[in-house]
């Protein structure tokens, strides 16, 4: 299956991926209205130790620890192999947050879990972070 891969040698730490992700998942068509005066909580976060920078998002693991940990069945794999979240089923226990080795899933201010779903749950269709990265540091491909 196609997944998001990060090439840290090209990441410039510009954080555009974060804003594009927030826009993609906002449900609002106009980017200004989607982002203006809003505090964003995107599914991808740019991390840096001062020397290396790269964007972290859900790895859609072959054997997802989060799905095993989920007590309410809110997390599941779809037919393509992507790990999807059904927020209506989530009870906000935070088990998935604790077991994810990448820190890629979080509890949002709504109290339920959220993470990257490869833009399959919004109108973009294909991951917007990969499309908008200015330097090819995020790619969406089959390996």
């Amino acid at each position: 299956m196609k997944k998001i891969y990060v090439k840290e040698e090209w990441c410039l730490g510009c954080h555009l991926c974060e804003f594009e992700c927030a826009y993609a998942n906002s449900g609002i068509g106009n980017i200004v209205l989607a982002l203006k005066d809003k505090e964003i909580d995107p599914n991808v976060k740019v991390l840096s130790d001062g020397k290396i920078t790269f964007a972290v998002s859900c790895r859609h693991c072959d054997e997802p620890l989060c799905i095993s940990a989920c007590i309410s069945g809110a997390l599941s794999k779809d037919e393509t192999g992507a790990v999807m979240v059904d927020r209506s089923k989530c009870v906000g226990c935070g088990s998935c947050v604790m077991v994810c080795p990448y820190g890629a899933v979080r509890i949002t201010k709504e109290g339920t879990a959220n993470k990257c779903q490869l833009c399959m749950n919004n109108s973009c269709g294909e991951p917007l972070c990969a499309r908008k990265c200015p330097n090819g540091a995020i790619v969406y491909e089959e390996k």
Binding site: L16, I31, V32
Partner: protein
């Protein structure tokens, strides 16, 4: 102290659209933008802006634009504002003004006054989508006599040459003036396209030896990076006598850019200014040039063509005639619009002549002396589009070099501040955090795309003229007409005026 500096540009931010994502702040090496925490908004210091357009391109909501600073001195057709600000700078610093990239002054651009023909009725145009349309070019000297073996078959031995899939090559830009990643992109694109790129006078980084089949190595007056393996590794060797942006003087790379691999590749100490001597100190006459050409041929066993690159100056036709008799295989002529990493402003803007006129006169002169077959002609300075390529070939060139156009394809916006070494596009810089911005995979693909597109356009224009092999376009001046040119200009170019049959 009075600050006489007038910021040339003003950053205009549409605050209704700005979402404080801070990309502009993170991506500006000139520190123009910053987020003012207390006020919750972005502030821009226009005085530092060089109009590189990086922030404008990256802003996700397109909230930014850079405009000329409307603050104007009293209009004066003679004392234009730039002459005043340049004097203020010199009064303050006592230094020679330095500039980057090609001459921006409003001298005539002859390519924009030349029109191309098309065939109708008496001679059909050819459809490049459905018929062969050939743009393959060979560069090198033609043999004087045809030899045959005992059975009467032609002996197909040819002098060393370069084979190009299309009549365009990447011009010399040194490693040091541009980044490692830029060189990687140029080398890869040259290989993929079946053309050549040029090392410039910075030597050849060992990581790029694998592209030797598509590399032209340059020997400039400073001889930076020149050693035996370097010469062996090129497909051709170019002796750089001059370049269009700064005829009469040598290359200049400030010590700040001579770091790490740049210093190793050039074979000079880190931090030392690399100022190439004005002449080659072993070429003071045409006979000296002949000696150097043959020394290089001896050193490479006569297997590689030798190119001599000169700037277009007033007596360029006579110089070219001398070079054509010196044993060189290819003459490269760089016109006064040629680009550079750094050159004294006055020399860049006032010295040299347009490549169109130089080409017109050199091609004609070599034919008058019956030595046009001794060399191929490559021209540069500045070729901006496929139409310029076609016009140059009609005037008599075998191929062109593109320098600035290649950089633009890779992201350059011609802000002309390369000499500061803070190129926001990762092209004209050695700072690792900035070099990172030029991903060679992306840049190589852009170069390949641009030249693929140009090749198709050249084929369309050729087909329109009823020509299906590019050699029939070379020197075919009847395919051009001038518009708005006077008698002398038409005579030097060797073309008629539009409307004349």
């Amino acid at each position: 102290m009075i600050d006489y500096n007038v910021a040339p540009f003003e950053v205009v931010r549409d605050y209704d659209k700005c979402v404080n994502c801070r990309v502009c702040e993170r991506q500006c090496s000139n520190e123009v933008h910053h987020y003012e925490e207390g006020f919750g908004k972005m502030i821009s210091d226009s005085a530092k802006c060089v109009d590189c357009q990086r922030c404008v391109c990256l802003c996700p909501t397109k909230a930014l634009k850079i405009v000329p600073n409307q603050n104007a001195f009293r209009p004066n057709a003679n004392w234009q504002q730039k002459y005043l600000t340049e004097i203020y700078k010199q009064a303050e610093s006592g230094g020679v003004l330095l500039s980057s990239m090609g001459n921006p002054e409003p001298f005539p651009v002859y390519f924009d006054k030349i029109l191309i023909n098309a065939s109708q009725v008496t001679n059909p145009s050819i459809d490049p989508l459905r018929e062969p349309m050939e743009t393959r070019v060979f560069l090198g000297a033609k043999p004087q006599t045809i030899e045959r073996d005992a059975e009467g078959k032609i002996v197909t031995k040819l002098p060393p040459r370069l084979k190009l899939s299309m009549p365009v090559m990447f011009s010399a830009m040194s490693y040091g003036s541009i980044s490692y990643n830029a060189h990687a992109a140029l080398a890869r694109a040259a290989e993929a396209l079946g053309i050549y790129y040029n090392t410039g006078e910075g030597g050849l980084h060992k990581d790029f030896y694998k592209y030797s089949a598509n590399t032209i190595v340059q020997v400039a007056s400073g001889r930076f990076g020149v050693h035996k393996d370097y010469l062996e590794d090129g497909a051709a060797i170019e002796i750089k006598i001059g370049q269009g942006a700064k005829p009469g003087i040598g290359g200049h790379l400030p010590g700040a850019k001579i770091v790490g691999d740049v210093s190793k590749t050039r074979m000079i100490p880190e931090g030392s200014d690399a100022v190439s001597p004005a002449p080659h100190h072993d070429i003071y006459s045409i006979e000296d040039l002949r000696q150097l050409v043959y020394s290089i041929k001896e050193a490479t066993e006569y297997k590689k063509p030798v190119i001599v690159k000169i700037a277009a100056v007033h007596n360029v036709a006579a110089i070219a005639s001398g070079i054509a008799r010196s044993g060189a295989d290819i003459i490269a002529i760089d016109g006064f619009r040629g680009g550079t990493g750094a050159a004294p402003t006055r020399i860049r803007d006032n010295v040299g002549i347009p490549i169109e006129l130089a080409l017109g006169s050199v091609d004609e002169r070599l034919r008058e002396e019956n030595i046009r077959d001794n060399v191929s002609l490559v021209v540069a300075g500045s070729i901006r589009s496929s139409a310029d390529v076609v016009k140059a070939i009609c005037l008599g060139a075998d191929a062109v070099y593109i320098g600035s156009a290649s950089l633009v394809a890779m992201g350059c916006h011609l802000c002309r501040t390369c000499n500061y070494g803070k190129c926001n596009w990762g092209i004209a810089t050695q700072r690792p955090d900035l070099v990172k911005r030029l991903n060679p995979d992306i840049a190589a693909e852009r170069l390949i795309n641009m030249l693929t597109a140009w090749n198709h356009e050249i084929q369309e224009m050729m087909g329109g003229m009823g020509i299906n092999s590019i050699e029939a376009l070379r020197g075919n001046r009847l395919m051009l007409r001038g518009v708005g040119l006077n008698e002398r200009e038409l005579a030097v170019l060797g073309i008629k005026h539009a409307g004349e049959v």
